[in-house]
């Protein structure tokens, strides 16, 4: 069973994606801030991280900056998913190594699951 870490601060969306990925057969851990994510990653060592960008305090870009410096963890694939569609932020996230930058409203949870499966193959 693939382990996936979802970092999403919106409770409604976090629950929704957790439900969907659980139904799709993933082992899901959901945290609601970048700081919680930084604590969780070394413990659970997920197969993939689904990262929101606009988070309270340290945001998704800050999280990526941290992850890139962690030698043992930097190889974990990260997919950014956000409704913040700002070209500079998107560029920065891609520069820091996210596999993709998905706009949440453009995809149903099922479509996001399909994309993530594609990245894990």
């Amino acid at each position: 069973m693939k382990k996936i870490l979802i970092i999403e601060d919106e409770k409604i969306l976090g629950e929704m994606y957790r439900d969907k990925f659980t139904q799709a057969g993933f082992d899901v851990v959901w945290v609601d801030s970048a700081e919680e994510g930084i604590k969780a990653v070394p413990k659970i060592k997920p197969d993939l991280i689904l990262l929101d960008i606009l988070l309270p305090r340290a945001n998704g870009i800050g999280f990526m900056g941290w992850l890139k410096k962690e030698k043992e963890l930097s190889s974990i694939p990260v997919v950014a998913f956000s409704n913040y569609d700002e070209p500079t932020t998107k560029k920065e996230a891609l520069r820091l190594g996210v596999k993709d930058y998905l706009i949440k409203t453009n995809y149903t949870p099922q479509e996001i699951v399909d994309k993530i499966k594609g990245y894990l193959e």
Binding site: M16, N83, K104, P109, Q110
Partner: protein, 370 residues
């Protein structure tokens, strides 16, 4: 050289009478040249000065001579010369008066012109300063507007993503089998939400287009593959509406073209999406054509069609002052305007044809192949 000097004097706005009376002009500081153009000599050697000296000597000489000369004819000659010199002096004096008058008027005009130039320069400086200030303020406002729109779009999208996600999961049966009677209303909610999402995306694109902040990143792309993918994505929506979608391929393989994939994808989706929305019977046909180094994607539907008047306004933004008067653009006003802007970036063309109401529409997306 002489011509050059004359030209320079004219250019400098110096008066022409410098040529008439170099001595006076010099006295009035009106001769820029050290040499008088009329006599081509330096001031001290100029004709007027010589005339003055010679005239005075001559008058004195004639005056003295008249005391010593005897005989009527001789006295008459001397007096005639004396009168001639005086008359000549009179006309010389007239010319001098003219110069003084002209000089006075010229000086007044010059002063007025200088004053006007100074006032105008001051006004221009003030306005330039104001414009610069306004420009700086606008730059700050523009940045704030872009940030506001990005944040506002984010805030709007968050609940829209939740509605989209949950409804799609309900429709998929993630929360148990859906009651058949509830399926249609749920689909309607989903479609309405999709329209809201599209509107937010369009508004975001529009604000970026207006601010010139949309990036254009062309890459070699197979439009054939792109269209195939889009058609597959939309197939379920099309078939759920009871419509068909057909693709017709050209006999020869299509070349790759340099396009910004995100933009072109958005344009094609927009056109096909509109075709589906405005078609109740029949379906949509997508085909390709190569003409004069241009690749055309032709999207034809059997929908409600358009009048010529409607077509002429089709690619305008409804924010351009016709909102509320053009009912036919409902839901399409922003999308097609943005589509045209994206195609313009590719130096391509987008246009539509229709044989009239009820006779379907055909949209052409034309991209240069070179």
């Amino acid at each position: 050289m002489e011509k050059d000097e004359k030209f320079q004097r004219k250019k400098a706005g110096k008066p022409e009478y410098v040529n008439e009376n170099c001595w006076l002009a010099k006295t009035l500081n009106y001769s820029p040249a050290k040499r008088c153009q009329y006599c081509e000599l330096k001031f001290r050697k100029c004709l007027f000065f010589q005339y003055l000296t010679v005239s005075l000597i001559l008058i004195l000489f004639l005056f003295a001579l008249s005391f010593f000369i005897e005989g009527k004819i001789s006295k008459l000659v001397v007096i005639s010369i004396f009168v001639f010199v005086i008359i000549y002096g009179y006309f010389f004096n007239r010319s001098t008066e003219k110069i003084i008058e002209a000089n006075f008027a010229q000086r007044k005009a010059k002063e007025a012109l200088e004053e006007l130039t100074e006032t105008l320069q001051q006004k221009v400086d003030e306005q330039t300063k104001e414009l610069r200030k306004s420009y700086e303020e606008l730059k700050v406002l523009d940045k704030a507007k872009s940030e506001f729109i990005s944040i506002a779009s984010h805030q709007l999208r968050t609940p829209l993503a939740a509605v989209k996600g949950y409804i799609s999961m309900v429709l998929e049966g993630s929360y148990g089998k859906l009651n058949e009677r509830a399926k249609r209303p749920m689909e309607n909610v989903y479609q309405s939400n999709e329209r809201l999402i599209k509107l937010v995306n369009d508004l975001l694109n529009l604000s970026r287009l207006d601010a010139g902040k949309i990036k254009f990143e062309p890459k070699p792309t197979s439009l054939e593959e792109m269209v195939k993918g889009i058609v597959e994505e939309l197939r379920i929506t099309i078939e759920n509406k009871g419509l068909y979608i057909k693709m017709k391929w050209p006999e020869l393989p299509l070349p790759e073209v340099m396009v910004d994939r995100d933009h072109i994808r958005q344009v094609i989706i927009n056109i096909i999406d509109n075709a589906i929305r405005y078609t109740e019977k029949g379906g949509v046909t997508v085909k390709f054509q190569i003409t004069n180094s241009k690749l055309q994607i032709i999207i034809a539907d059997t929908g409600e069609g358009m009048t010529k008047e409607e077509i002429s306004h089709l690619f305008e933004s409804f924010s351009r002052g016709t909102a509320g008067t053009r009912f036919w653009t409902e839901g399409a006003g922003l999308g097609l305007y943005i589509a045209r802007k994206f195609i313009d970036m590719h130096k391509g063309r987008i246009f539509a044809e229709s044989k009239g109401k009820g006779k379907g529409s055909t949209f052409y997306i034309e991209i240069p192949t070179k």
